[in-house]
């Protein structure tokens, strides 16, 4: 049974999955790079990338540059040549064992077994720019943001840990222009829970019901309507 979704949340992205966790930082970075007049930044996230211009159509020289902040998995956007940009992706997620056989408990009548473990997943911000110093400056801002908010995020988002971030070196790539990328990398540790349900009790139940004279149609209806998310 799918877990409930918030407004606008994709039905295919499970709560607590890597993509959902990436989404947390996409939203957080968009909030960090907002148009806050109290702390003006030269880069501002806006949903609309069209640059501002004056009444006669001339570009406004002093307006902040729109900043793209997207999930790295969102590859279909038509403005991928746009810079500066922050793409939020992830590295290899590793599940760690914190109990014997990851076991959390059993439900003996049905044989249901519950497990849990900690998943350590690197979150990676690719901070792209056409300017090396700008790339690293944006990355420093994001890096400081993660460093300063990790405790708040950890407690309010139910994550087990957010490790202190790493500000990586700036590297050069060549697209339509030279493009500089600085990565911000940090590990997120979150709980992963899962369960297994043996097939034998289910089969025994079917046989018992058939032997008790339940019609095949009624039995299949009961099986289909049964909530299998609970033991």
């Amino acid at each position: 049974m799918p877990l409930p979704r918030g407004e606008g949340e994709a039905s295919d992205v499970y709560v607590g999955s890597p993509l959902a966790i990436i989404g947390l930082w996409v939203l957080a970075l968009r909030e960090r790079f907002n148009a806050n007049l109290g702390e003006p930044l030269p880069w501002v996230w806006r949903a609309n990338l069209r640059p501002e211009d004056s009444e006669n159509g001339e570009p406004l020289p002093e307006s902040p540059r729109n900043l793209v902040i997207e999930s790295a998995y969102n590859v279909e956007k038509a403005h991928r040549n746009y810079r500066p940009a922050i793409y939020v992706g992830r590295g290899s997620a590793v599940a760690a064992k914190i109990a014997v056989d990851n076991r959390a408990g059993n439900f003996i009548p049905t044989g249901f077994k519950a497990y849990y473990g900690h998943v350590t997943m690197p979150i990676i911000f690719d901070c792209e720019s056409e300017n090396s110093a700008e790339s690293t400056t944006i990355a420093e801002t994001a890096w400081g943001f993660v460093l300063a908010t990790r405790d708040i995020f950890r407690s309010s988002l139910g994550l087990h840990d957010i490790v202190e971030p790493t500000l990586a070196e700036t590297t050069l790539g060549s697209l339509d222009k030279n493009t500089w990328t600085t990565q911000v990398i940090f590990n997120v540790v979150y709980e992963q829970r899962w369960g297994t349900r043996p097939i034998a009790p289910v089969l025994r139940e079917i046989v018992a019901q058939l032997e008790a004279g339940t019609s095949e149609g009624t039995m299949l209806q009961r099986l289909a309507a049964r909530d299998i998310s609970h033991p």
Binding site: G57, L60, P61, A72, V75, H79, R80, P84, S129, N131
Partner: protein, 294 residues
């Protein structure tokens, strides 16, 4: 649409045939020799002088054939050379330097007698040719230019990047680098205005398929091609071209072409189409068009 004409004569119809004002007096820069990396020697002559003395020369310097110009010598009386010794290579790039292996420095010399300017000439740093090969070069360069102008080429504005000038007050840090690639003051160059005045000429683009790359950041459009240009203006990497026919803008990457004894006859440059969000689209490329193209 009126044909864009250079404000300094001699850029669109090389070689220079006649001096300004209908006079037969001509000023010819015969040598612009760099003495790397400290100074440049500029030498000129006056053809068909109307008097033997009384000429006053001024020497100007720029990074483009269209200026803006900085006057570096004023009213040199009957002197036919100038040693530009002001290459200090300041680390804030406030002045010109000759440290790069490819640095275009353009000189303009004007001559006056009395109060009126009689003639002027513009020349960049380039190797000199002997008298016989000057004629050959002139013929080849003119043929290349005419074929681009009347044949395969279309109108193009060449924006030469500033490598020296007033440091950008908005985004240049004390350690010398620009921190905003889309700065409205310097266009990400770190130097105020970012680019010199555009030079208008003709160029040909080769046909090139659009290459859509997919990388971690998604689908990126990359469009690389070659362009043929006349020998003037000499382009450098990171200069950009605006093809006025469709207002598409391209950054120069690599430069080749043909030469005669080290002097360029025509240029073949690798160019890459700039993304529509590039800061170069903020610069006015075609002041004759209404509404203007930015």
């Amino acid at each position: 649409m009126p044909v864009p004409q250079s404000q300094t004569y001699g850029k669109q119809d090389p070689p220079v045939k006649e001096a300004a004002g209908g006079s037969t007096l001509r000023l010819v820069i015969t040598r612009v020799t760099p003495l790397w990396p400290r100074r440049v020697y500029v030498q000129w002559i006056v053809r068909n002088p109307t008097a033997s003395t009384g000429y006053y020369f001024s020497v100007w310097r720029s990074g483009s054939y269209e200026g803006p110009w900085e006057e570096i010598a004023h009213d040199l009386a009957d002197i036919y050379f100038y040693l530009d010794d002001s290459f200090e290579s300041p680390n804030d790039r406030s002045g010109p330097d000759l440290q790069s292996t490819r640095r275009v420095v353009v000189y303009k010399v004007t001559v006056r007698r009395g109060t009126s300017i009689l003639a002027e000439a513009v020349q960049d740093i380039s190797a000199g040719l002997d008298h016989r090969r000057q004629g050959i070069h002139r013929k080849l360069a003119r043929d290349a230019y005419v074929s681009l102008k009347h044949g395969a080429g279309t109108r193009v504005a060449v924006f030469k990047r500033r490598w020296w000038g007033e440091p950008c007050p908005k985004c240049l840090s004390l350690t010398g680098q620009s921190t905003r690639s889309h700065c409205g003051t310097c266009s990400g160059t770190g130097i105020t205005y970012g680019y010199w005045e555009p030079v208008y000429t003709y160029a040909q683009r080769t046909a090139s398929p659009m290459n859509a790359q997919v990388n971690i950041s998604g689908q990126v459009d990359v469009n690389r091609m070659r362009a043929l240009l006349p020998c003037i203006p000499q382009v450098d990497p990171l200069d950009f071209l605006v093809f006025l026919q469709d207002n598409k803008r391209y950054q120069v990457e690599n430069i080749g072409g043909s030469e005669i004894h080290g002097v360029s006859v025509h240029q073949e440059v690798d160019i890459t189409e700039l993304a529509r969000s590039a800061v170069e689209y903020n610069l006015k490329a075609d002041p004759w068009r209404d509404p203007q193209w930015f």
